[in-house]
Structure formats: C-alpha cells, structure tokens
C-alpha cells in the first residue's frame, strides 16, 4: 500500500475521536470551573479580577450559612424522593401495564416539564399561599379559620419542585423500562410472584441504573433549583443555597467569592452521589437487551388498571391542569382574587406582554437555542455516554465525574465562571447566542448523559462485539447497532434538552447580551418588577410557543419517517 493509499484509507480511530471529543468537553467544563475555583479562593477585594490575594477564608466562613445548607439538603432530599417515586410509579404504570389510554397519557406525562417550575411555583403561590391562596380563601369563605394549606414552607417548596421534576424522572426511568425484555417479568409471574412483588423484585432491580441515574440527576437539579425556592421561599424568609447566592451576587458590592465558595462546596455532595451511583452499577449487571429478540409487551393488571389510571390523572391534574388553569385565570385579571368579577377582567397583560421586546425577540431566540442545544447535545452526549460505558478507553470513567461538575454547582454561579472565562477568550462570542449555546451544552451535559447512559447500560456488549466480528468498523457499529438501540434514550434526551434550554434561567441571566436575549429571565424579571398577572401572561405565552414548536417538529419528523418508509 502506497502512502497515498494509506492516507486515503485512513479513518479516525475511536481513540483519536474519543480524545478529541472527551478533551474538548473537558475544556468546556473545566475552563469556567477554574475561574470559579479561583474566585472562591479570592480573599481581597471581592470585585477584583484576577484576585488580589488567595486564601480559604470564604470556605471557613461558610459555617454562618449552615442553616441555608440544611434547608437546601432538606428540600432537595424530600423533593428527590417524591419525584423519583412519582417517576418510577408513573413509568411502571405507563410502560409495563395495560392501563387504558397509555399512549396519550405517556405524552401528557411530560407536560409538567413544559409547564416549568417557575410557572408551577407562580400558580401554586396563587393556589396555596396562607393569606391570599385560593384554597385558603375558599376555606375561610365556608367558615374555616386561619389557613388550610401553606405553600410557603419547606414542604411546599419540595412539593412544587417534585411535581415538576417528577416528569424528568418519569422520562428517564420510562426510557429504561421501555427497553426491558418483558420475559423476565413474565418468568417471575409464571413462578408465582404477584404483580407488586414482580415490580419490586424484578422490574426495580433491572431498571436500577435508570432509577439511580434519575435520582442523582434530580437531586442535583433540586440542589440547583432556583425558581420555586425564589417564588415560594422568600415570603417565609426561607433561603436555600441558590436564593442565598442570588442575593449575595446581586448586592453591592457583589460577594462572588462567598457565592463561589458555596457553589464549590456543593461539588463534594455531587461527587459523593456519582461515586455511590458508580459503585452500585458496577456491582451488578443490568443488561436487558441482548441478542435474543423480544417484543415489548405489557402486563395485564386486571381491575387494578382503573385505580392506576386514576393515579396518573391525579398527577396530571395537580401538576398540569390546576396550575395552567390558575395561570390562565390570573393572566386575564387586573388583581387576582379567588372570586372572579367582570370589572377585574382585562386583556392588558397580553397587550403589554406582546409589546415587550423580551417576549418577541427573546422567545424566538429561546426556540432557536432549544433546537440547536437539543440536536447538538444528543450527538455529543450520546457519544460521551458510549465513551464512558462502552469504549474501554483509559480514563473514560473519570470523564463521568468531570461531566457532573456543571450539575454540582447552581447555574447562576456557574454562569459567573463562564462569564469570566469567555470574556477573556480571544474569539469574540461573548454577548452572542453562541455563548448561550456553549453554556447550555455545558450545563446540560449531566442531563443528556444521565438520560442516555441509563439506556446504554441495558444494551449487551455482545451485540456490538458481534458486529465487530462481522467486520464492522467502530463507527459503523456505533451507527448501525448502538444508535438504533439507543433510540428511546436519544429521543427522551432530545426532548428534555429542548425544554430545559427554553426554560433555562440561571446561566442565561448573566450571559445574555443586548442582542441575545432569552425568555425565562424576562419572565422572572417581570415577576420582580411588574405584577404576577403580567408574569402569568408571559409564562403562558412561553408555554404555548414551546408546545407549538414541539407539535410542528413532531409533525415534520412523522412526515419524514413516513416518507422514508415509502
């Protein structure tokens, strides 16, 4: 073979591609983290960049915020348990049982994620505030005293966070359950185990990577959750790490070093979670997709299917129907009260919302960024999942820890690291949509990774090895074997990434430029500076735009698949 022929036949090997993609991603994550760690060690003028002096004072001084860390762990822990239980139960009902209307319910189950925690928190504040909450007003109207519920408590915040993150857990766990060979459950039942026993002893252990992945992700998401804690916590003087950080960096002079130290401290919590996750999945086999063919089938649960249907509908009512109705109602009010009156009705909130640049251009920017982040993200994160769990390359495991960094620190603080990092970067992307795209791809790495890796762990390596024995190159194997099997996980990841990008708040607040505005910060800002009625109108417009965009994309995709089939 001549050197020319050798050059023509050269294909990048898995090691080289892995090195480039893994290395590139590492830079994407570590570059801003380095600035964040630098800030956390700054003990001079808090505004000085680079720091005037270094020390550990910011970490040693964190003990005065111990109650805030306690609040955060309490809310995140309770919300994670509720969200994962909801996600698992809903996932099991809709993928493993013959509950009526499964297909439609499955689509609806992702709705709370579209609704967003911000809109959910605003709605639940109107429903359950001790003073003006609709439920409590009605309670007093029928002779009750005081209040029936109070959403402005730790439990209330956890409830709202769990409702809206429960659907993330559902999407993640549901994708894993769909890929499970039903013969294992059938074997259990043939051997005399009941439905519940089969669910707990067979289904749950087999989907453990997905459940744990969802738990790790959701817990981290809860640690960094901002909107619900902001809307529902401030009225009761209840701060969590993110709302405390927001106050620290919004004050003059901004206390970045303290906020950065708080954020960096959360790395320890996150790494402990990833370590536990890896320990558990490395101690057993969770393969359910092997070379043996299977057809996804569901269990006949008999009369139990009606109560299970009721459970699904109840979840949809409290997580979607009720909040959306309340927000629609509030958006047409001058001053929202529990008792409707004609004099209070107005269209002014929509007129104002549609006149704002923040709604017109920012909504469009958000949708563009959502599609770009989801499409590029699925490719990047799918490859990284394969790299970590399949490539057997040295150091692949370390990449997983690396990729969890952005999840470990609240996005608001991570955004400061990104701002400092990309401000001095020689390519002028600061203040453009490109920076937001990079930011979203970086902060959503854990989301994509967790969603896809839950499925990848279920695929037997022998399928790829078989293709290798037949002479397929690694790229061909990836394209024709691994990717098609990963399809449920990839679709779920695309959907989650799209929605997560459109509703992103923490990183966007600081990284938006005058010509690269996105919608969610404008909605929060409206809540600060105008009224909950205008905010309701803006949140509803955002939700409608996202729903319309998704409907169009699904229709186009369906048509493309049909055309391909013909």
């Amino acid at each position: 073979m001549t050197s020319l022929e050798r050059a023509r036949s050269w294909r990048p090997g898995p090691r080289l591609v892995s090195l480039v993609v893994g290395g590139g991603t590492a830079v994407l994550v570590l570059y801003p983290i380095a600035y964040l760690i630098q800030a956390s060690l700054s003990v001079g003028d808090p505004q000085a960049r680079p720091p005037e002096a270094y020390g550990l004072d910011n970490f040693t001084g964190l003990d005065r915020y111990a109650h805030i860390f306690g609040n955060t762990l309490l809310v995140a822990g309770v919300a994670t348990i509720v969200a994962v239980v909801v996600g698992f139960v809903m996932g099991w009902i809709l993928t493993r049982t013959n509950v009526p209307g499964r297909a439609a319910l499955e689509q609806l189950m992702a709705m709370p994620y579209y609704v967003t925690p911000l809109m959910g928190a605003l709605a639940w504040a109107l429903i359950g505030s001790a003073g003006s909450g609709f439920v409590n007003q009605l309670w007093r109207a029928v002779g009750g005293s005081g209040h029936l519920i109070d959403i402005n408590t730790a439990w209330g915040i956890a409830w709202v966070m769990a409702l809206f993150e429960g659907s993330v857990a559902f999407v993640m766990i549901g994708a894993v359950m769909k890929s499970m060979d039903p013969s294992l459950e059938e074997a259990s039942q043939v051997l005399g185990a009941g439905r519940v026993r089969t669910m707990l002893r067979i289904t749950l252990p087999l989907v453990l990577p997905g459940v744990l992945g969802a738990a790790v992700f959701v817990f981290a998401e809860m640690l960094g959750s901002f909107s619900a804690a902001l809307v529902l916590g401030l009225p009761s003087r209840f701060y969590v790490v993110t709302t405390a950080m927001y106050q620290l960096v919004s004050q003059y002079p901004p206390r970045f070093p303290t906020a950065a130290a708080m954020g960096v401290s959360l790395f320890a919590v996150m790494f402990a979670m990833v370590w536990i996750y890896r320990r558990i999945i490395s101690s057993g086999s969770y393969v359910t997709i092997t070379g043996k063919a299977f057809r996804p089938r569901v269990m006949d649960v008999g009369g139990l299917r009606w109560p299970l249907l009721g459970l699904c509908l109840a979840y949809l009512v409290v997580a979607v129907v009720l909040p959306v109705l309340v927000i629609v109602y509030a958006s047409f009010q001058r001053l929202t009260g529990a008792v409707p009156s004609l004099a209070n009705l107005t269209l002014a909130n929509y007129a104002m919302a549609l006149s704002l640049d923040a709604v017109r251009s920012a909504l469009w920017n958000s949708l563009i960024l959502g599609v770009a982040t989801a499409s590029l993200g699925v490719l990047l994160m799918g490859f990284l999942s394969w790299l970590i769990y399949r490539s057997r390359l040295p150091g692949a495991g370390a990449i997983e820890y690396l990729l969890m960094f952005p999840q470990a620190v609240p996005r608001l603080v991570f955004a400061f690291g990104m701002m400092w990092a990309w401000l001095v970067f020689p390519i002028p992307i600061y203040g453009t949509l490109w920076l937001l795209l990079i930011a979203y791809l970086t902060v959503f790495l854990p989301l994509g990774l967790r969603t896809i890796s839950g499925v990848i762990l279920q695929i037997d390596r022998s399928l790829e090895e078989c293709a290798q024995m037949c002479g397929a190159t690694w790229g061909h194997r990836l394209r024709t074997v691994t990717m098609p099997l990963l399809k449920p996980g990839l679709v779920a990841a695309w959907l989650l990434l799209f929605i997560a990008s459109v509703r992103e708040l923490g990183a966007s607040i600081l990284l938006m430029g005058p010509k690269s505005k996105v919608i969610t910060p404008a909605i929060v800002e409206s809540w600060f500076s105008t009224s909950s009625e205008l905010t309701a109108a803006m949140a509803l417009l955002q939700t409608l735009a996202v729903a319309a965009a998704l409907a169009i994309m699904f229709a186009v995709a369906r048509r493309a698949v049909q055309a391909g089939g013909e």
């Binding site: 003073g131 003059y252 001053l335 009260g337 104002m352 203040g431 938006m512 010509k515 105008t530």
Partner: protein
Amino acid sequence: MTEHRHTAVTRRGFLRTSALAAATAPWLARAPFAAAQGKSTKVLDFQTGADVAKAEQEGEVVYYGHDGEAGIGVLLDAFKKDFPKIKTSYVRLQTGALYAKITAERSAGRFGVDVLQLSDISPAIDFQKKGGWEVHVSPESSAYKAEHQSSPAGHYNWGGVTFAGISYNKGKIKPEQAPKTWKDILNPIHKDGVSAKLATSGMQHAQWYTLRKLYGNDFWQEFAKQRPKGFDARAQLFDRLSKGDDRMCVLAEYAGYTLFAEKGAEIEFVAPPDGLPATAFYIGVVNKAPHPEAAKLFVDWALSKRGQAVYQNQKILLYGSLRTDAGPMPTGKRLADFKLLFPTDWNDYVASHPVFVKEWNSIMGL
C-alpha cells in the same frame, strides 16, 4: 427628529449660570456649565452636546439599566420615536449584578456599553473612581442643582427621584391601628405581617440610613423583631400587600403605590411627618463607549424635559424630576409637596453601605 440648530453659549449666559450655581450650593468649582463644553446643539426642544449627525451615523445606543423590562421598553421606545435612525438595545439586571457585569467586561477589555443607569450611588461613585464614566457635561444639566450631579460634574447625573413611605392593606389593618409615623412600624401587632426590600436595593439603603440618623442605631434592631419579609422589587411588595399576604409595607415607594391603587387595590399610603426617605437613579455616558455621540445624545435627551416627561409621567417608571423647571407628577403632586429625606453626608452614606448590607441581611434572615 426634524430640527438641528447650533447655539453658541454666550459669555452672559455663562456668567448667569455661574452666579446661579454659586447661590444654590457650595459646589461652585464643580458646577456644570454647558458653556465649558463649547458648542451645544438644539435638537427638537432640548440642548445636546452630541454631534447629532454623527450619533445618527453611529445608528445605535446600548443601554445597561436596572428598571424593569416594561419600564426600559417605554423609555427606549420614546427615545427611538424622537430619533428613529438610532436603534436601541439593552441589558437589564439589578444594580449589583449589573455593575458586576460591566466591571467584569471592562476588566477583560470589552467595551460594549454606551449608557449606564444605576439605582445606587455607591457603585456610581466606585465607577467614577475607576474612570468608568466619560466626562460629558450635558447642556441640560444647567436645569439641575449642582448637588444633583457627580462631583466633579460630568461623570453622572441624578436622573430622577423615587421615595418611600408606609403603605398598608385597608382590609387587614383597622383605621385605629393604621401607622402614622415611622415608629408605628415597630408596633408588635404587625409582627409577621410586614414587608420591606432586600439589601440589593439602593432605596432600602437610603431608608436604613436616614431613619437610623433620625431614630438612632437601635431602630432597625427593634424592627427586626417584626420578622419582616424581604423582596427584590416594589412590584412584589405591592402585589403581596394588595392581595393581603402582608399587612403593611414599610418601604412603600410612591410609584408602586400609585400603580396598584389605580388597579383598585385596597391600600393606603402614609407619609410620616418626619419625612420620606428618597434616592435617585444615576445616569451617564460610559467611557470608551462604542457609540459615543449616540450615548451623549441619549443622556442629554434623558435629562431634558422630553426625557424627564417619560421618566416622570409613565406610571411604570414614575421618577420625580429634579429639574428646577419640572412640572407636576401624574398624580398632580410635585416633588416639593413631599418632605424628602436625602443623606446629607455622601461620604458617610457610601461608607455605611457594608454595615447596612450586613445588618439588613441579618434582619431578613439571610
């Protein structure tokens, strides 16, 4: 924009302005004189030190501000209406975060901002120390007292004033329990029903400072016993007050009160006889601005009667104008109708900021 007319400032005008400034404040050496800047141009009905043709050629002004989206939108739309050849864009953040953003950008050598507006004088003075403001003595600044400008003049101007009293929900507080003086906010019957702003607010700093001067250092420690709830913006305070979630708001900005009272909220505004803490917003041209002439034009417009009419008459903004020739606010009242409490020693005021932040964070449970 239809009319451009160059007006040379006369020696007599210069002397007259000087005499006026000397009479009103001991800031003579720092007083603003449009004449000192040479030519000014009459455009529409105001004077500008900008080259209007160049400003229109630059075609854009980038504004960083602290007001809400709706407020900034109203302001920039009004400017665009007067100067349709100049596009506007903006970034909106709370003053602390906004200032952090602009200083980080500048320390990295990125200069993308033309006009900066802050709600707190401390960062405005800090920005001046860092050489962040472009020295531009607006011809319109002759309509302002010297004490309402930076020292020396030309760095930034006081663009308008907001002030706060007490407001309460009429359905939640009986007339006999209604507050009348500042000391009434300490009444234990209001415990757990009181709201104020967080330490992010320049207005809150002004109130903390001025009432501390009036009633002593223990006043706010007594107030802490009420377990007040803190929020970022006046709209949140009045939203909650109107709905009855809070009984009383102790940092009730007049602008917020009028907006919600107009919606039909059952709330009352109280102006305690000792006075109403007040603060301004501070606006100026940023050094190394990418569109320097457009920036000067914008600031001159903002300080002119035209711009001040937007700040003062648009209810989403409702900043009282400090122009000596300003008309009444939409409520029919003028700033002079209120007894406003401004800090008298600005150095002491700025120096007190860290003490305020620490004490206020503690009061708010942070």
